[in-house]
């Protein structure tokens, strides 16, 4: 499996698509997580993402290893953005390519669910009413 893992200020769906491009694959699944303009009906102005980068990269590599052991995935991308992010901005991109779509969907869902549980990245929400949580 070829893997691209990165944490940086700005990430794009296109760089993930470019990486997973392969004539051997017939199913490419891409998940993009974007900043929502509200949380529980309260307007959100922006998010700030902070990261323990060395450990985050290591935990993302562990997820990639688990994927490799479980599914026949040819290519995989995990990108996470850090810093100030505004509604509509992309915060996370997961992309998976496999011969067929079924396992690509399964692996993609597993990656984003596990990332949210184990990778040391934190978001702070800045609400329109001035509260920060």
């Amino acid at each position: 499996m070829e893997i691209l893992i990165d944490i940086k200020d700005t990430i794009t769906v296109q760089e993930a698509l470019d990486f997973i491009q392969s004539p051997a694959c017939g199913g490419e699944v891409i998940f993009a997580g974007t900043v929502r303009n509200h949380t529980k009906q309260r307007p959100v102005l922006k998010l700030f993402y902070e990261c323990y980068e060395a450990m985050a990269i290591s935990e993302m590599q562990k997820i990639a290893t688990q994927v490799q052991e479980r599914w026949e995935i040819q290519k995989m991308v995990m990108l996470h953005a850090v810093g100030d992010k505004y509604p509509g901005d992309i915060a996370v991109v997961i992309a998976v390519a496999a011969a067929h779509r079924g396992i690509a969907f399964d692996a993609c869902e597993y990656v984003i669910d596990t990332l949210k549980e184990t990778v040391p990245i934190w978001k702070k929400e800045f609400f329109a009413d001035g509260e920060i949580a």
């Binding site: 323990y52 996370v92 990332l115 184990t118 990778v119 040391p120 990245i121 702070k124």
Partner: protein
């Protein structure tokens, strides 16, 4: 040695790095010391300790050259 703090743990303690007391020699003792020194940390849903960039069990020994970090509930994605 310095202990790294992130996210809300950094906000509660007011520090991105804390000096580990010499008598703290494992993860359980570190957590106990943190909870006592910074009671606000008790409000967290969870508080993990990472040793050398890996989640550590309470029984894990902390050596002076280890990289130790306080990991409040993560919220990436």
């Amino acid at each position: 040695m310095g202990i790294l703090l992130f996210g809300v743990a950094k906000d509660i303690t007011g520090a991105a790095m804390l000096e580990k007391p010499a008598q703290v020699r494992d993860v359980a003792a570190l957590k106990a010391w943190l909870y006592e020194a910074y009671p606000g940390l008790q409000q967290l849903k969870s508080m993990m300790i990472a040793v050398n960039r890996t989640y550590a069990a309470d029984s894990q020994v902390i050596n002076e050259q280890d990289e130790v970090a306080v990991i409040p509930p993560v919220s990436g994605g």
